[in-house]
Symmetry: C2
Subunit: 102 residues, 2 copies
């Protein structure tokens, strides 16, 4: 299992708008080969931002990389730039391989 995790610092007051973007977004992930699940997680509130993370689970690193080069990826990211004003800084992408799963 391979997990792509994106970490977002969302400006205080913009939390609902950010969650709405994800709730209403067409991800085009259903049916993508190797796609195993997606989660949007809300973390702690800091003085100027709230931490969010997305976890996208894949069967392998290869499946994730194939997706980033696909038409489904391109379509899912159309218009993403227009939500920039909700962010305090750019999202941080972190990639993980599963070592243990219990």
């Amino acid at each position: 299992m391979f997990i792509a995790m994106n970490r977002f610092k969302i400006k205080c007051g913009s939390e609902s708008a950010f969650e709405e973007v994800w709730t209403n977004r067409e991800t085009f992930l259903e049916g993508v080969a190797g796609f195993n699940g997606f989660e949007l997680l809300k973390g702690s509130k800091f003085s100027e931002h709230t931490l969010y993370a997305t976890h996208t689970a894949w069967a392998s690193k290869q499946a994730f990389e194939d997706w980033t080069r696909s038409e489904a990826f391109r379509k899912a990211h159309v218009g993403v730039g227009s939500t920039k004003e909700l962010y305090q800084g750019p999202p941080e992408l972190e990639l993980f391989e599963s070592v243990l799963d219990q």
Copy 2:
């Protein structure tokens, strides 16, 4: 769903030892009320450390908090201090509530 995520910076060269600790560890999590799964994830290698994360999924924040006060938690953490020399700095605990699960 509630996710407790712990982030570990493991000194370069200590990765196998760290993974072994987790592989051989008795977590005492099976059968704990509200426990939904555990994963050990290996992230990127940096100049002086490799990033690891653990994800522990719970039915609710309450289930997580009840566990941290339980005998199972105490037993799972016996001897954890003895692995300190593998770490570059203390682990960072982050808590998340699931907003979307697809």
